[in-house]
């Protein structure tokens, strides 16, 4: 039943394309409707997805299509001159749908829940209204942007800085894994905007004397659904107690929960819901396909595919940190320029890996879901799902790393006999069957011997690596404890 509804929805979206987008006013009435579902919300995650669908449709009913006219420039949205200039400098030719619909609402000073496809310019959609408000009344510690991963936080701050350069914006990034002291110093300078991961921000609120968010005017949660769910929940609750209630709150994501309990957590005040896509929509320019084969040939298939697409830049997503490490070694030993990225690396090597990939020094990034959300890396040609994500939302975010901002891209999912159920669920959520990737199976099998050799090598190397790490751990017990504490404070996707 749920799937049917989605289909009807996606039709609507097609209709509304080219500037015709829905704007949903989520008035209290709607919230009441949703509250009926509250009792069911304790149920299992699997069901949760479906429930959310229903909630969504409930909201859909009250939808009314507004603003049909074409908007070609930021000026028309009411954005002031200097920021328009900055947009031009960043080569934003015209506002994207999410920007068209959320910016005017946010400029009015309303709370916004923004839902738009991956790569559709959500960061600017919340950055511009904040910068404009700041321009009108400059004050220190004006806005705080929360992001679930450190890399995303850096990326957001970069965008803020380049947009805000003209108005002399000061922006600080407060994330785990970096030196507390220099962050304290940055906070002491009272920047206008703080981009932070929740754990470290809490740490500073508790331990850095002279720093508080009592004057905060804007709170933004990017990848809001992630921030509002179980892992970050308690910290977010604590944070919100330290932030004044008289503030504007903006929530943005490509996938959005509409569960009341979660949204209540963000304590919005009569928010406007701006949805440019349904929650589980992928971009049209994205070519999605899958491959089905027995589990034992997984590495061989992977190597074959990587070889096929040699020279293109791609992200390979695996489930565990260990797997990313192993695959990177395996690929490297076969002569592919691969680099791992996962949550167990130090922050500096994480940033290093990302920069190498961004600059093109390495064309293959092997990552966990830490890189699934929000990262805007231009020119990713392909996303390879080595492991099928357990969470269908994660799938949307993963494949959203390619085909960004109107470009083309493709995604490939490796499905084995064990992943079948997960995969079908994703197809269900997407509401369409994907095509099978055409492949010459015999050609793949030709590689198996070479891959087997590389596998053994990789396993050996992993063993050495682990032995080294263990030694380091026993060497620096005191350090380890401290770091562990910090990591706990800054839980994120691994």
């Amino acid at each position: 039943m749920a799937i049917k509804e989605i289909k009807s929805k996606s039709k609507k979206v097609k209709k509304s394309e080219g500037g015709k987008v829905k704007r949903v006013k989520e008035e209290k009435k709607v919230v009441k409707e949703e509250e009926e579902d509250v009792s069911e919300e304790e149920e299992e995650e699997e069901k949760e997805e479906e429930e959310e669908e229903e909630e969504e449709t409930a909201g859909e009913k009250s939808e009314e299509a507004t603003s049909e006219k074409e908007i070609e420039s930021f000026e028309e949205l009411g954005v002031i001159e200097p920021i328009c200039e900055a947009c031009k400098a960043m080569k934003f030719k015209k506002p994207t749908p999410i920007q068209i619909h959320s910016i005017p609402v946010a400029l009015e000073g309303r709370d916004v829940i923004g839902l738009a496809q991956t790569g559709s310019g959500k960061t600017a959609a919340f950055a511009i209204p904040i910068l404009q408000a700041l321009w009108q009344k400059p004050s220190p510690l004006f806005a705080c942007v929360l992001a679930p991963t450190r890399e995303l936080a850096y990326q957001i701050s970069e965008q803020f800085e380049s947009l805000g350069q003209v108005i002399g914006l000061r922006c600080a990034v407060i994330v785990g894994g970096m030196d507390m002291m220099s962050q304290s110093v940055a906070l002491g300078k009272k920047p206008h905007v703080i981009v932070a991961t929740p754990g470290r921000l809490m740490d500073h609120l508790e331990h850095t004397k002279g720093f508080s968010l009592r004057g905060l005017k804007y709170l933004v949660m990017d990848e809001a659904d992630r921030l509002l769910d179980m892992d970050f929940g308690p910290i977010i609750d604590k944070l919100l107690q330290l932030i004044p209630t008289e503030r504007r709150t903006l929530l943005f994501s490509a996938t959005m929960t509409s569960k009341v309990e979660k949204l209540q957590r963000a304590s919005l005040a009569s928010p406007v819901r701006v949805a440019v896509s349904t929650k589980y929509e992928t971009v049209k320019t994205l070519l999605q396909s899958y491959l089905f084969f027995p589990f034992k040939h997984k590495d061989t298939y992977l190597v074959y595919l990587v070889n096929e697409m040699a020279g293109q830049s791609m992200i390979i997503f695996a489930r565990t940190c260990n797997d990313t490490e192993r695959l990177a070694i395996l690929l490297r030993s076969l002569g592919f320029p691969a680099i791992p990225l996962h949550g167990q690396m130090t922050q500096s090597s994480r940033l290093g890996a990302l920069n190498k990939f961004k600059s093109g020094a390495r064309s293959i990034l092997v990552a966990t879901d830490v890189a699934a959300r929000g990262l805007d890396i231009p020119l990713v040609d392909c996303v390879l799902n080595y492991d099928i994500p357990t969470d269908s939302k994660a799938y949307i975010h993963r494949v959203g790393r390619t085909a960004r901002a109107g470009r083309a891209g493709k995604s490939l999912s490796l499905v084995t006999q064990y992943d079948l159920e997960l995969y079908l669920r994703i197809e269900g959520v997407l509401g369409k069957k994907l095509d099978e990737y055409p492949i010459d199976k015999e050609a793949v099998m030709l590689l198996s011997e070479r891959v087997g050799e590389a596998q053994r090598e990789a396993i050996n190397e992993m063993k050495q690596l682990h032995a080294k790490q263990r030694k380091r751990k026993t060497d620096g017990i005191t350090h380890g404890k401290k770091r562990k504490h910090n990591d706990d404070m800054d839980r994120e996707e691994r």
Partner: protein, 660 residues
């Protein structure tokens, strides 16, 4: 081969320097003292830890006390932007754009130099001033101190009377505040500019100390009062209003650092501080007196500057924090609760620790706003590396917050610009290339800097009796190759004639070697010659070599052998002379491998020869002092032959210059 060998020595020396050298040297100085408790260092450390825990809660109370004393006249209203007080213009509210511009100029090394020969009472002064400014905008206007009163110079009320009383003995004219020496530097010091004052003398030492102590205390009291007042202001507003921007402090509390050579010097400084603050009862003072002061004296036979420096407690390993509360002064306060840190280079170096040390702490140096080096010439005779080490750790952004309130830290601290605002004052008896390097590289005060250089008359006339002085110049294109060129010149040109002469006479030759590196190189060379000589069947080349690390018994023996003419050559270092001031007997000639930094040493060593004449060992006509110099020795040469002659000697084509 010689070069490689030399490098080896340098290396050896550098290791030596850090560890052993200091220790042994310290041991050397200790011996001069009549009594010295060897376990003192350890004792102090343990007690210092104790003092930490002692650190009372009274602090908290005191923090909230309102400003209630008589300073209201000099207290500044809330808007200080229009104030003429250097404290506000330089430290608390510097003009943002001017500051950024000036820092840019410092970074670009855009110093503009201006040389002035001041005239005092119609006669040219005994010093010249080299002003270094950054051109264009200035942090503040010139201060005229000639007829100013302390009040008009923004001095805290509570310092005025005590200073007048303490300074009374030095002021010559009735209406004046300062003595002539003080007046010469006060306009710079009180304007928070950097000063390198090289004409420090025994008589002007205390006057300078009075002046810089006044300035330092004034700065600390102003800082402290502002902080306390703002505390009160914040407490009144409670947390209702966050918009209040009160940036009035650094990362940590210590604001002034004074580096002195000995404990006794520290005791004298603290006495001056107490005179100016007149506290009812300084805390821990009895203990301070015990550990930093002794009545040990040195016999009158030694020169006066030596007695001044080494009498009393001459231990060169100490560090102490001093904290001011509203009513009193507390010694041995924990560094992070102190306003002033007084330390010797060694003591502070040990506190900072090395890179290899597991636990190091130098955050207490992060917020030093006034740095003073007094008796720097004596410090230069200790281990200069420590000084560089200290400078390298000054005004860094700390590694730990130490509970500081980030919303009240001044912006230029957060921007890491503290080193461009720090005021550095160096008082020295003479200038060495090392001290000059501090002036060039480490004194980056945006307020500008001034170097006071004495005009020297030369010391050749001070010896008393005319004798022959020969200065031999050799050429070297850079200070780096100077040691090699010097060694080559010495062994090929100077040494053969020296040997010929000394074998003809029964009296000996002192070879004076200021640098330890050169000393080791020469000693090895002589050793080699000796071995070769013995192999060839002669008695070899007998010589003694003594330096600052030589034990007393070895020293005595070497001196006796030399006096009796059994050893014709004695290698003698400058540091040994600095720490012992022996009179070496039995010499007919002196060869200065390099000139001494301290011009007095030239006189004293030359007088060894007069002693030989009166002992009947040498003929008045035969005695001669020969010196080797290159253009890199200009500073040293100036002090010995006088400002009028040295330039010609350095620049001229001549190789040998004789005076008699």
């Amino acid at each position: 081969m010689a070069k490689a060998e030399h490098k080896k020595f340098v290396k050896r020396r550098s290791v030596h320097e850090v560890a052993a050298a200091v220790k042994t040297k310290r041991a050397g100085t200790k011996k001069i003292k009549v009594e010295h408790d060897a376990s003192k260092v350890k004792h102090e450390e343990t007690t210092q830890v104790k003092a930490e825990s002692e650190d009372d809660d009274e602090e908290e109370e005191e923090e909230h006390l309102d400003d209630d004393d008589d300073d209201s006249a000099s207290d500044i209203s809330e808007d200080e932007s229009g104030s003429t007080d250097p404290f506000h213009r330089h430290f608390s509210h510097p003009h943002q754009q001017t500051l950024k511009k000036l820092i840019g100029r410092v970074q670009a090394k855009g110093w503009v130099s201006e040389k002035i020969k001041p005239v005092v009472d119609g006669e040219p002064a005994k010093y010249s001033i080299n002003f270094m400014t950054l051109g264009g905008a200035k942090m503040l206007d010139e201060i005229n101190v000639a007829d100013a009163t302390l009040e008009s110079l923004n001095t805290k009320g509570r310092l005025v009377e005590p200073f007048k009383a303490a300074n009374k003995g030095f002021v010559q004219e009735k209406n004046k505040t300062f003595s002539p020496v003080q007046e010469a530097v006060a306009s710079r010091i009180l304007a928070n500019e950097d000063v390198l004052f090289a004409p420090r003398t025994i008589s002007s030492g205390q006057q300078l100390q009075n002046l810089y102590t006044l300035h330092m205390l004034n700065h600390i009291f102003k800082t402290r009062d502002t902080v306390l007042k703002n505390n009160a202001k914040l407490a009144k507003r409670a947390d209702a209003d966050d918009s209040l921007e009160l940036r009035d402090q650094g990362f940590t509390r210590p604001k002034a650092l004074v580096i002195l050579p000995t404990r006794e010097a520290c005791y004298k400084l603290v006495s001056t501080i107490l005179k100016l603050t007149a506290p009812s009862q300084p805390e821990n003072f009895r203990r301070f007196q015990q550990e930093y002061h002794s009545d040990a004296t040195i016999p009158d036979t030694k020169p006066e500057d030596f007695r001044r420096l080494f009498s009393g407690n001459n231990d060169d390993n100490f560090r102490i924090g001093i904290k001011f509360t509203r009513k009193t002064v507390k010694m041995y306060s924990e560094f992070y609760n102190s306003d002033i840190i007084i330390a010797s280079p060694l003591g502070l170096r040990l506190a900072i620790g090395d890179k290899t040390d597991k636990k190091r702490d130098f955050d207490f140096l992060s917020s030093i706003e006034i740095l003073i080096l007094d008796q720097t010439a004596a410090i230069a005779m200790q281990n200069w590396e420590h000084i560089l080490h200290i400078f390298a750790h000054l005004n860094l952004i700390p590694q730990d917050s130490h509970g500081c309130d980030f919303s009240r830290i001044r912006n230029w601290y957060l921007d890491g610009e503290a080193k461009y605002l720090r005021q550095t004052l160096i008082f020295s008896e003479f200038i060495t290339p090392e001290i000059n390097a501090l002036f060039t590289h480490h004194m980056n005060n945006v307020g500008g800097k001034a170097k006071y250089l004495p005009v020297y008359n030369g010391v050749l006339g001070d010896i008393g009796t005319p004798m022959n002085h020969t200065f031999m110049k050799f050429y070297s294109s850079s200070p780096q190759e100077d040691p090699d060129k010097r060694f080559k010149y010495f062994t090929t040109k100077a040494l053969p004639s020296l040997m010929r002469q000394s074998s003809a006479s029964s009296a000996g030759t002192i070879i004076f070697v200021p640098s330890y590196v050169d000393f080791v190189r020469l000693r090895n060379y002589f050793e080699q010659e000796h071995q070769i000589g013995r192999k060839l069947g002669s008695s070899g080349f007998e010589f003694s070599a003594v330096n600052e690390y030589t034990s007393t018994s070895d020293l005595t023996r070497a001196r006796a052998l030399f006096k009796d003419g059994k050893h014709k050559v004695l290698l003698y270092t400058e540091r040994l002379h600095h720490f012992r001031r022996y009179v070496i007997r039995g010499a007919e000639s002196v060869f200065m491998y390099s000139l001494p930094d301290n011009p007095t040493f030239y006189v004293e060593i030359s007088r060894f020869l007069l002693r030989s004449v009166s002992d009947g060992i040498a003929e008045q006509d035969a005695i001669v002092v020969r010196s080797l110099f290159s253009k890199w020795d200009a500073f040293k040469l100036e002090r010995i032959v006088g400002s009028a002659k040295f330039a010609k000697m350095c620049a001229g084509a001549g190789e040998i210059f004789e005076f008699s």
